[in-house]
Amino acid sequence: MEAPMAPSASNPKNKLSRPAALAIHLFFAMYSLLCIIPVLLIVMVSISDEATVVREGYQFFPSAFSVDAYAFLFEDARQIVRSYGISIFVTVTGTLLSLIIMALYAYPISRSDFPHAKPFTFFVFFTMLFGGGLVPWYLVYVQMLGLKDNIWSLILPLMISAFFVLIMRTFFITTIPTAVLESAKIDGAGELVIFARIVLPLSLPVLATVALFQTLTYWNDWFLSLVFITKDANITVQYLMYKTMLNIQFLANNSTAAAAIAAAGGTFKFPSETVRMAMVIVGIGPIIFAYPFFQKYFVKGLTVGAVKG
């Protein structure tokens, strides 16, 4: 499917007047700038000279540049590398498992001959309507399962999205011909074989869509870390960014802490303002590079999902 795009040119009589067309172009040019500029500001601050930033504030065109911030981050790269590892593991494992588990659930409830399809559809749909709230949910993970500070507490909660299960189910119903399934059954194929050999290969568009959205969800999640993770060993890139902001703020606003560090022989001389922004750039990296490529599949995915089923 092509990305949705303007076909109104096919009707030449129905053109906008030149000034109107120009106004639209101008408007979108400005809005596009508005989307890029904040990211650009962060990039520029991260390569600015610290003293310049303190004097001039955050600028798009600082009077002096420096890569000190990146050098500082690089010096103690262990935590960053570790966090990248955690984020990648959580994202890859989470996406793969969630895709398999959701598809395995969506297929049976898509089969019209399965007498329990309806109650099991409701079983997953109901989770969209009602939830227990944060407190009991937290207690289940921490007290019942003992998953505090465990990497699985970053994976399990996002594994099943009722919305995606229902989208997969609709896709299975509408695109996989019952006749194909019937004939496979006559040939003696078991349900699992039918699912793996026939259903999955025919469903690549919806699987790719869900995988993409789940990848983004896992990569961007910081809430689960905030709630469940206290030890540095298991913190993701997103949470590391959040903590960097808090820690630098703490050190910058707290002269006793700074003095204590200095007394212990540590140095408190680091480019705090620029480091903050360099940290974001390090964290934002993969998304910024992947996004233009991702984007067109997201558009397709949204159009698949938006079709009512």
Binding site: K13, L16, A29, C35, I101, Y105, G132, V135, F298, L302
Partner: protein, 304 residues
């Protein structure tokens, strides 16, 4: 068919569904029973089952605080605003982009507009900070002096946040909803517009009597999905972007951030679970109510 027969015939289906069933039970259904915590005076020594019942006392406490009113008001007003903005702005964008004759330019704008959707709230909070930081922010250091205005202590000024938060929210979501509305608009048969042109209908007339009525189902579903969640605020937006500034709580505290704070920062299980339960129950009621309204107007547009 008897249950046993079904089980024998479809046993493989149950095996396939088992992992998801277990996760849904743990992640969604057991916490639903956990709402009973709101009616208990929970203590860790006796555990969930052993702790004594407290009736409605947790709710009494909750409503005695002035927080109850503030968080309810903030959650509802902000979300109502977001729903309106997420409808009007993307719809206008989609209609305008659709008029753009250069396919390349339209696609380029669409791609760029989608960027904020890919950024996490942590990143967005940094972006906001780069503009609004008191000492170094671009607004205070460059924009306001240029306009000859006084600097603003953004993270200590309540009045600006009812504008900042909707701005950030719209900025993040406009690309997403624009794509959906554009897909719907492109699905409209060109012949409607051709006929309209022959009848001499203006662009505005075409928009109001062809485009919008024909994509109404998509508009309704998108809005319905958001109304159903009107009691659930975007935790990230309200937690990360105002950077936990206590001064701002009167205008940034919503049910989700309140529940989080009273539970994990303050440690008051009773109060936070009462607020959480209220959120769940009212949210549930609102989904049904909005769906019922839509069903009465047009059955095909309803969610269920």
């Amino acid at each position: 068919m008897a249950t046993l027969q079904i089980l024998r015939k479809y046993w493989m289906f149950y095996v396939m569904m088992l992992p998801a069933i277990v996760i849904l039970l743990v992640n969604n259904y057991i916490p639903m029973f956990g709402i009973l915590i709101a009616f208990k005076n929970i203590n860790y020594a006796d555990g969930f089952l052993g702790s004594p019942w407290s009736g409605l006392r947790n709710f009494e406490y909750l409503f005695k605080t002035k927080d109850a009113w503030i968080i309810t008001r903030n959650t509802l007003l902000y979300n109502a605003g977001f729903i309106a903005l997420n409808l009007i702005v993307p719809l206008a964008f989609a209609i305008m982009l659709n008029e753009m004759r250069s396919r390349f330019m339209a696609k380029l704008h669409q791609t760029i507009m989608f960027l904020p959707y890919f950024l996490s709230m942590v990143v967005i909070s940094y972006l906001a900070f780069a503009f609004m930081s008191d000492e170094h922010g671009f607004l205070n250091k460059t924009v306001l002096p240029m306009l000859g205005m006084e600097q603003i202590k953004w993270y200590f000024t309540k009045e600006v946040w009812p504008y900042v938060l909707p701005l950030v929210n719209t900025w993040k979501w406009v690309g997403y909803y624009t794509v959906i509305y554009m897909a719907a608009i492109i699905g409209i048969d060109e012949e409607y517009y051709e006929a309209a042109t022959i009848d001499g209908a203006s662009k505005w007339k075409q928009i109001t009597s062809i485009t919008i009525p024909l994509i109404m189902p998509v508009i309704v579903i998108m809005t319905l999905l958001q109304i159903g969640r009107i009691f659930n605020a975007d935790f990230g937006l309200f937690f990360q972007v105002p950077r936990e500034s206590g001064v701002l709580f009167p205008v940034t505290n919503v049910i989700d951030t309140y529940v989080y704070r009273t539970f994990l920062t303050v440690g008051d299980i009773g109060l936070s679970s009462a607020a959480g339960l209220l959120q769940s129950v009212v949210g549930f009621a609102l989904v049904f109510l909005s769906n019922w309204v839509v069903r009465r107007i047009n059955k095909d547009n309803a969610l269920f």
